[in-house]
């Protein structure tokens, strides 16, 4: 791979030299791009392939695509490189890192780089729900790339066994409880063999909670990232419901549920339904030994889920040529065809409506309809929790959720103190 790239780089520079001597206009630009890997599978190879295609189409631009660990590692790496004067020009990073990157003065807004009307139209070509995490202060800072939402995976065989219709999964909270209770299976001595539902509460509890609150028609923060609504009555109600699922209705194990092992539990039939990232779709499809379905999350007042995943950012420390080249690269990688390819090989959502019009994705959705559920759900989606001081503000909510689920605190108490502390952190950004 490396030697091919090097060969292409040599070819590219030779070619640009040729052009340079003929009309003296074109020079080679070299870009460094970081990207994190957050779902399983040989994604570095997919990215390398996409980048190689780009270099073939744009011989005057050389791209070093560098795998940078998970989202946290990628942010640390990008900021370290930035401060050392040896920076990258663009990177895929967590969509919710936006405020920290702005505060560090690390990134430029896409509105300040776009030149043509065509570029401006391109900014509007993505699903609006996916843009929410990339827009603040009236400008676009992040372009959606590897994006996911939460969906409900359910075991159709278990539905049949419980006498439920496998083609109508729960659409409301009430149905979630009533169907969930029917799906719980106990052995002779009263131990649970199979739970009705599992919503993971480690790893990313705030993310799952974002779905519950949205379904109760409540967002967790404002669009400027300096205000949270942790103690709003509908937020408290949503957390109470989460707690009740395990504690009162017995649909779910009371206590916390591991994020990392949930898929395994679902695949082994220890739960009939699970809420999890769309990023799991490809793996569940590959490993499920039973008939499974994928559904939108149910509604209380409305349906709802947060989006998740990574966006493209362009760094401020870059020359106008590098920015133009970065734009070109991002536009290339988010073109409908490539988006379709990326979506199929990863399970991430196609980030724009016209990706679903491509032959590739059309036929994929036709033969595997669950792939379209996440897209259909985008209509009801909202931004992932993201504020200034996002790590600490998010942790406050995570702790409040876990304290409630373990029964250590009541929802009002836990969320009230989380809100107080969040206010203290965010005051200076108002």
């Amino acid at each position: 791979m490396k030697s091919v790239k090097r060969y292409m780089a040599v070819m590219a520079s030779a070619l640009s030299l040729l052009i340079l001597s003929s009309n003296g206009a074109l020079a080679a630009t070299e870009l460094t791009m970081y990207y994190p890997v957050a779902v399983g599978g040989p994604l570095t190879k997919v990215v390398d392939g996409l980048v190689a295609d780009f270099e073939k189409a744009n011989p005057d631009i050389k791209v070093n695509a560098i795998y940078a660990g998970n989202y946290n590692d990628a942010r640390i790496k990008a900021l370290a490189a930035l401060k050392s004067g040896d920076p990258a020009q663009l990177s895929v990073m967590f969509s919710i890192d936006i405020y920290e990157l702005i505060e560090q003065d690390a990134i430029v807004a896409f509105d300040d780089i776009v030149e043509t009307d065509d570029d401006r139209a391109w900014l509007k070509s993505f699903y609006p729900a996916l843009m929410e995490n990339g827009v603040t202060q009236g400008k676009v800072w992040g372009i959606p790339f590897q994006r996911s939402t939460i969906v409900m995976y359910y075991n159709k065989d278990a539905f049949r066994e419980a006498g439920l219709d496998p083609d109508s999964p729960p659409a409301t909270w009430d149905e979630l409880v009533s169907m969930g209770q029917k799906l719980v299976k106990k052995d002779a001595s009263g131990n649970v063999d199979r739970w009705g539902l599992m919503i993971p509460s480690t790893g990313y509890p705030y993310w799952m909670f974002g779905a519950l609150t949205m379904q109760n028609d409540q967002v967790l923060m404002n669009g400027d990232g300096n205000e949270t609504y942790y103690d709003a009555p509908s937020t408290v109600e949503a957390l109470q419901f989460w707690r009740d699922l395990g504690d009162k209705h017995g649909v779910m194990p009371a206590n916390t549920i591991e994020w990392g092992t949930l898929r395994q539990n679902f695949l082994e039939g220890k739960t009939a339904m699970m809420w999890h990232s769309t990023g799991n779709l490809t793996i569940v499809k590959k490993n499920a030994t039973f008939d499974f379905g994928v559904a939108m999350l149910p509604a209380k007042k409305r349906r709802g889920t947060p989006t998740g995943g990574g966006n493209f950012y362009i760094f401020k420390k870059s020359t106008p040529e590098e920015r133009a080249a970065s734009m070109k690269l991002i536009r290339f990688l988010t073109a409908p065809d490539r988006t379709a390819e990326w979506s199929i090989s990863t399970g991430y959502i196609g980030t724009r409506p016209d990706a679903y019009e491509t032959d590739k994705l059309k036929s994929y959705v036709m033969e595997f309809p669950p792939a379209a559920v996440a897209r259909d759900q985008l209509e009801f989606a909202t931004a992932e929790l993201s504020t200034y001081q996002t790590g600490r503000v998010r942790k406050l909510l995570d702790d409040a959720i876990q304290a409630t689920l373990t029964g250590a605190k009541s929802p009002e108490e836990a969320l009230g103190s989380a809100q107080d502390q969040a206010d203290r952190l965010l005051k200076r950004y108002r």
Partner: protein
């Protein structure tokens, strides 16, 4: 009295076994998950079919052969650098009188209190100025002047009887010869123990190598392993355990083979 004693010994043994079991259980689980199909990852059935597919898949997802080489170069490079530098520094601190010695030694000790992670940005810009970003020397350099190594060797050198040095001097040894012929041989078990700590630390180090490297040619095993982390979709246990076993196998084998020597040198060097 004897009965009481017997119970005490028995309790001690039971506690030791319990601790050992707790300690080794992740490793045992890793073996279980790695050698069985994914469906048996958390279902313990003695008759479950064995498979090597997980290893095949893990191996194919990252260039592990290259990563092995990189890790090997990295840990040996660091170890050699640390031995040379720490030996010289420790000798100076232990046996030479010079003004400011205590202050300099205190400064070295202060380094023990600082987590290396705090210095990531600073170290990165230093490496960048030296032009060592994305090189194996760049990964190792910040760890060469190890405060722990200097401290440990200094303490060991201090226990060497002055008479031995005096005798060597009488024989006409220069200070370097004294160091190499008297001090270093007497500190062998300290070197072995420290070497083990250093190798296992750098074999397992993750964040700094990830930050400072950009290419397959320089990345160590741990960074390659992180590809299986998959925080968003949840881990595929069978594959990640297979990858982990691949990464730790050389260390594990080395430890099993030289276990006796390691344990003895730890006892002598007093590292716990």
């Amino acid at each position: 009295m004897i009965g009481y004693h017997g119970i005490g010994v028995w309790l001690e043994k039971a506690a030791a076994w319990l601790l050992a079991l707790l300690w080794i259980s992740p490793l045992i689980y890793a073996f279980w998950a790695a050698f069985h199909p994914a469906i048996y990852a958390t279902r313990f059935d003695l008759l479950a079919p064995l498979t090597l597919d997980n290893f095949r898949e893990a191996w194919s997802q990252a260039p592990f052969a290259r990563y092995y080489l990189n890790t090997f170069l990295l840990v040996t490079g660091i170890l050699i650098g640390q031995f040379v530098l720490c030996t010289l520094a420790a000798y100076a601190f232990a046996r030479f009188e010079f003004s400011g010695r205590n202050i300099a030694f205190a400064l070295v000790l202060v380094q023990l209190m600082i987590m290396p992670e705090v210095l990531i940005v600073e170290n990165y810009s230093t490496m960048s100025k030296l032009g060592l970003v994305d090189t194996i020397s760049g990964i190792g350099l910040p760890y060469i002047a190890s405060a722990f190594g200097i401290f440990l060797l200094r303490q060991t050198f201090k226990t060497v009887p002055q008479e031995l040095e005096d005798a060597a001097r009488v024989e006409g040894c220069s200070w370097l010869q004294v160091l190499l012929k008297v001090y270093v041989p007497l500190a062998r078990s300290t070197y072995l123990a420290y070497g083990l700590v250093s190798v296992s630390y750098h074999w397992n180090n993750f964040l700094w190598p990830l930050i400072i490297t950009n290419s397959v040619e320089t990345r160590p095993l741990t960074v390659g392993l992180a590809i299986f982390g998959a925080p968003e979709s949840g881990v595929e246990w069978s594959i990640i355990t297979a990858g982990t076993l691949l990464a730790v196998a050389p260390l594990l084998l080395g430890f099993l083979l030289f276990q006796r020597q390691f344990v003895q040198s730890f006892m002598r060097a007093g590292i716990k």
